[in-house]
C-alpha cells in the first residue's frame, strides 16, 4: 500500500493505523489516550488529522490505512483545533506550572517537594518530567488557557495498598480502565457517571481491594498524568539511572526496568517492548522488589556464635571458623540445602561444593511440593523423560486450555495473561479446582472436584473420550489396551464424586478433547500436595495423550527449573527436607548447611549448623555461624524460568553491608577447606564452566547470549509416549491428610530466601488475605 503523509510518500504493509505509520516515520502527532497495548479509543481527540476526500477530522489512532490515503497532520485548522482541545483538558487539570513562562528556570532553582496533599502544579507532582501532558503542552507550545479553570475537588483515595488515586489530575483518557479490562482481564475499574460528571472509579466507589484488583500496577504505568501514583516513590527525587533486571519472585522471569537514584533502587516497572512478560508484571515485580532488597531483616555482616551469642565477625574469621568445623563432617552426616531462587551459577557451585567437599548431594528447598519436580519424578519412575520446555507464546495457537488445581490469576499472573489473550480468541478454557478460582469466570467448563478426586475426573473424561475419539491417534500408543481395560472398571454412576448435573459438561469436554485441537494442560500445586498425587498425575498424563495435548507442570520459584536440571544430571539425590527433619529427629544429622528455605525449627537440628541467607529468620537462633548473602539485585547471573528459558540478569546496586554473592561465599569456604577449582572471580566465569561441563546448559555461557535468539535449556529430542498404569480401583478420599508444608510452599510463593513477603509487605498481606477469602467463600 502507498499513502502520503504531509506530501511524503510512504509504503505501508499490514494492518496499521495512520498514527502508527506516522510514528514509524518520525511524524509527530500529539495524543494522550493512545497506548501500544490497547485497542484504539479515540477519546482525547488530539490526534485528529485531515484526509483528502473524507469529511471532517478523523482521529489518526482509529483510522486504518488504506491504499492511496492522503493525510495532512499540520494544517492551520488542525493546529487551532488541537490547541482548543488541549486548553480544554488543561482547564480541568492544575495548569499553572504547565503554562508558566518561567518553567524552564524553575527546574533549576526549585528543590523537589512532591510529598504534598494536593498537587497544584508540576513542581509538586510526583509525575513531573514523566508526564505525557507536559510533553504535549511543550509540543503544541501552549502558553495560556483561555477557559476558566474548574477544579473538580475529588477526595484523594489513599485507602488501598501501593498506590494513591487522585482523580483531580485525571484527564479521562481511559487508559487505566482499558488496560485493566483489555490486558489484565480484571475489570476492577470503569467509567462512572457520564458527561461532565464522568470519572474513573470502582463499583459502588469501594476500595480497589474489594473490587477484584490484583494490584499489578498496569493502570499506574498506563496513566499519562499523576492521577495514579505509586505511594512509595511519592517522596523520592527523580531517578538518575535505569537498569534492567529479571524478577526473582516466581518462575515467569519478568523482565523489569529499575529506576535508581544515587545507587539505590527507587522503583521497578515492567520493561517496555518485546519481553517475556510483554510489558506487564504483577504486584510483586511492580511494587515490592525494593522492599525485598532493603528489608530491615537483611543480614549485613558474617556472624559466629561465641558464648551462646551470635557476634559480628570479619569474613576471614567467619570463613575460617566454618571451614575448620565443617572439615569434621562428610557424607550422610551432613546436609546442604540449596535454594531454588538463586542463580544457576550459585546452584552449580553449591552442587560442586556439596559433592567435592562435603561428599554429599544438595537438597533443594521445598521442591517436593513443586508440580514440575513431581511430574519429572513420576515420569522418570516409569522410564520416561518428558519434554519440559515450552514457550508461553505457543498458547496463541491453542484451541483448548485446561487448568487443573491452580489459580493462575494469583499464582502465575503472567501465564494467566497469555491464557486470557487466548480466551479472547475463542479458546475453550476448562478449569478443574477444589475451590472457586478467579480464572473460572473466563472458563467454558468448570469442574469443582474434591481434593484428591482429580484422577477420577480425568479417568471419566478419558473413558468418554475413548467412546467418541479417533482411535487411530492413540490406539497404537504403548499401554493402550491396559488403559482401556482399567477404564472399563470405572463405574460412572457408582461412586461419582462429581455432581450429577455435570454429566453434560463431561460429555461436551470429552467431545472437545477428542476433536484433535491444539491443547495445553497445566496443573498446579494443589494436585501434587495430595497423597493421591501420583494417581492424579498418571490420569492426567493419559488424558493428555488421548487428547494429543501438551501437559505442562507449573514451575514455582524462579530458578526451580534450573536447579532441577542440575539435579537431573547427577547420579545422587540429596535428602528431601522432610528426610532431613527425620534424621535430625533421630540425632543422625551432624551438620546442616542451610542456603535455602527450611521449615522453622523448634530445636537444634545438628551439632553444627550454618545459615547462608540474605535475611534473618527464626532458624538463626540455632545457627553456629551466619553468612550474609546478597539478593539478586547485588549480583549477576542466570535464571531458568518456567519455560526453560535461560535469562541473564545484571547487577543493579552495590552489595549491602558485608553481603557477598552465594558462589563467592561457598567458593571461599571451599578454598579454605583445601579445595582447588573454586577461585572464581565472577559469575560469568562460572557460567562458562557450567556450559562446558553440562551440555544442556550450553546456552548459559555468556558468549551464547548474543545471538539474538532466546537461550533455552537444551533438551534431547525424543518422543516418549506411553500410557501410564492407571489405578486399579478409583478411590475417592474422604478427606485430604496434608502435611505441614515448608516455608514458601503455600499457594502464592510469597517468599524470597528467608523473607516471608506477606510478613514484610502489609499491602501484599492485605491482598492475599482478600484473595484467600474470595476462594474460601
Amino acid at each position: 500500500m502507498k499513502i502520503s503523509i504531509n506530501g511524503r510518500q510512504i509504503e505501508v504493509t499490514g494492518k496499521k493505523t495512520v498514527l502508527e505509520v506516522a510514528r514509524e516515520h518520525g511524524i509527530y502527532i500529539p495524543t494522550l489516550c493512545d497506548h501500544p497495548s490497547l485497542a484504539p479509543f479515540a477519546g482525547c481527540r488530539l490526534c485528529l488529522v485531515e484526509i483528502k476526500g473524507r469529511k471532517g477530522f478523523p482521529p489518526s489512532c482509529s483510522t486504518y490505512v488504506e491504499d492511496g490515503l492522503e493525510v495532512l497532520t499540520e494544517t492551520p485548522q488542525l493546529q487551532t483545533l488541537r490547541r482548543h482541545i488541549l486548553e480544554l483538558i488543561l482547564s480541568e487539570h492544575p495548569n499553572a506550572c504547565l503554562i508558566c513562562a518561567e518553567k524552564k528556570n524553575c527546574d533549576d532553582y526549585k528543590s523537589t517537594i512532591r510529598k504534598v496533599g494536593e498537587v497544584t502544579g508540576c513542581v509538586l507532582c510526583p509525575n513531573n518530567t514523566r508526564c505525557r501532558l507536559q510533553e504535549v503542552v511543550d509540543a503544541l507550545k501552549i502558553d495560556r488557557v483561555s477557559f476558566p479553570s474548574s477544579y473538580r475537588d475529588f477526595d484523594i483515595r489513599r485507602d488501598d495498598p501501593f498506590f494513591d488515586r487522585n482523580y483531580n489530575l485525571c484527564i479521562l483518557c481511559g487508559r487505566c480502565v482499558r488496560i485493566c479490562t483489555e490486558v489484565r482481564g480484571a475489570a476492577a475499574i470503569s467509567f462512572v457517571f457520564r458527561g461532565s460528571r464522568a470519572v474513573v472509579g470502582t463499583a459502588f466507589n469501594r476500595p480497589l481491594l474489594e473490587s477484584g484488583c490484583q494490584f499489578c500496577g498496569a493502570c499506574v504505568d498506563a496513566c499519562p498524568t499523576a492521577a495514579l501514583t505509586e505511594r512509595a516513590t511519592k517522596g523520592e527525587s527523580l531517578p538518575d539511572d535505569k537498569r534492567d533486571t529479571v524478577c526473582p519472585l516466581c518462575s515467569s522471569g519478568c523482565e523489569l526496568a529499575v529506576d535508581l537514584r544515587k545507587g539505590r533502587i527507587v522503583s521497578s516497572v515492567p520493561k517496555d517492548g518485546d519481553t517475556v512478560n510483554s510489558g506487564q508484571a504483577c504486584v510483586k515485580g511492580r511494587f515490592i522488589l525494593r522492599d525485598v532488597v532493603y528489608s530491615p531483616k537483611r543480614i549485613l555482616s558474617p556472624m559466629v556464635r561465641r558464648d551462646g551469642e551470635l557476634q559480628a565477625v570479619s569474613w576471614d574469621e567467619g570463613l575460617d571458623f566454618v571451614a575448620q568445623k565443617l572439615k569434621a563432617y562428610q557424607g550422610r552426616d551432613v546436609a546442604f540445602v540449596a535454594s531454588p531462587q538463586l542463580a544457576l551459577e550459585d546452584s552449580y557451585i553449591f552442587q560442586k561444593f556439596a559433592q567435592q567437599i562435603l561428599r554429599t548431594d544438595i537438597s533443594v528447598g521445598p521442591l517436593r511440593s513443586s508440580p514440575l519436580a513431581a511430574y519429572l519424578e513420576e515420569l522418570q519412575k516409569h522410564g520416561l523423560e518428558p519434554e519440559l520446555n515450552f514457550e508461553m507464546s505457543a498458547l496463541a495457537a491453542a484451541k483448548v486450555i485446561l487448568l487443573a488445581d491452580t489459580d493462575v490469576v494469583s499464582s502465575q499472573p503472567l501465564l494467566w495473561l497469555e491464557i486470557l489473550k487466548a480466551t479472547r480468541k475463542g479458546v475453550k478454557l476448562i478449569t478443574v479446582n477444589p475451590k472457586e478460582t478467579a480464572s473460572e469466570r473466563y472458563a467454558s467448563f468448570n469442574f469443582e472436584v474434591k481434593p484428591g478426586a482429580e484422577s477420577y475426573l480425568f479417568a471419566s473424561l478419558s473413558r468418554r473420550l475413548l467412546e467418541n475419539g479417533r482411535p487411530e491417534t492413540f490406539s497404537s500408543i504403548e499401554g493402550f489396551e491396559d488403559l482401556k481395560k482399567s477404564l472399563e472398571h470405572l463405574n460412572a454412576s457408582g461412586l461419582d464424586p462429581l455432581a450429577g448435573s455435570q454429566e453434560e459438561d463431561l460429555r461436551s469436554v470429552a467431545r472437545l478433547l477428542s476433536e484433535g485441537h491444539t491443547a495445553f494442560f497445566f496443573f498446579g500445586r494443589a494436585m501434587i500436595d495430595e497423597p493421591q498425587a501420583g494417581a492424579s498425575l498418571r490420569a492426567l498424563w493419559n488424558l493428555a495423550l488421548l487428547s494429543g495435548a501438551r501437559l505442562i507442570p507449573l514451575a514455582g520459584e524462579n530458578n526451580q527449573r534450573g536447579i532441577l536440571e542440575l539435579w537431573r544430571r547427577t547420579p545422587g539425590r540429596g535428602l528431601s527436607v522432610s528426610e532431613i527433619l527425620g534424621q535430625a529427629e533421630e540425632d543422625k544429622l551432624k551438620a546442616l548447611y542451610l542456603a535455602g528455605p527450611f521449615p522453622v525449627l523448634s530445636k537444634t537440628a545438628a551439632e553444627f549448623s550454618v545459615i547462608q541467607d540474605s535475611y534473618l529468620n527464626e532458624n538463626v537462633k540455632f545457627a553456629d555461624a551466619v553468612f550474609p548473602a546478597v539478593t539478586f539485585a547485588e549480583t549477576e547471573g542466570s535464571f531458568v524460568n518456567g519455560e526453560g528459558r535461560i535469562q541473564k540478569f545484571k547487577q543493579l546496586i552495590e552489595p549491602l553491608g558485608e553481603a557477598r554473592p552465594d558462589w563467592w561465599i561457598v567458593g571461599r569456604l571451599a578454598q579454605r577447606m583445601g579445595a582447588t577449582g573454586f577461585s572464581y572471580k565472577s559469575a560469568s566465569e562460572i557460567a562458562d564452566e557450567l556450559a562446558k561441563s553440562i551440555p544442556a546448559f550450553e546456552e548459559a555461557a555468556p558468549r551464547q547470549q548474543k545471538k539474538g535468539k532466546p537461550a533455552f535449556v537444551l533438551e534431547e529430542k525424543k518422543t516418549t509416549k506411553r500410557f501410564l498404569p492407571a489405578e486399579p480401583g478409583w478411590r475417592v478420599p474422604e478427606k485430604s491428610s496434608k502435611q505441614p508444608l515448608p516455608l514458601g510452599a503455600d499457594n502464592g510463593l510469597d517468599y524470597y530466601r528467608g523473607l516471608n513477603l506477606k510478613d514484610e509487605v502489609k499491602g501484599l498481606r492485605k491482598l492475599r488475605e482478600r484473595q484467600r477469602l474470595k476462594r474460601e467463600k
Binding site: 481527540r45 485528529l48 482548543h84 483538558i89 480541568e92 479521562l172 457517571f193 458527561g195
Partner: protein, 96 residues
Amino acid sequence: MLDLPIDYDTSAQVGSIMGSGGMNVMDEDTCRVDVARYFLHFTQEESCGKCLPCRVGTKPRHDILSRITAGQGEENDLAELEALATSVKDACQSLK
C-alpha cells in the same frame, strides 16, 4: 403552522427538525439566547463523556451563555463562543 403534519419531511421543509418526536413551541417573546443556554445544558447532560471536547467543552459555553442571559455578557464572548462551538463540533465523532 398549526395544521402542519408531524413528520420528518414536512418539518424539514419549514426549517425545523424532528428529533425524538417532542415539540418545543416558541413565540416571538422567547429569548433565543436563553433557548441556546437551555439546549446547551441539555447537551451537557446528554454527553456520554468519552470524547474530551464534548465532555469538557460544553461547560464553558454554557457558562458564557448563562452570563449573557444574566445581562453580564462581554463583547469578546461571541467570538469565543463561536470558536469553541466550531472546535467541539469538528473534533467530536457523533456530530459529523
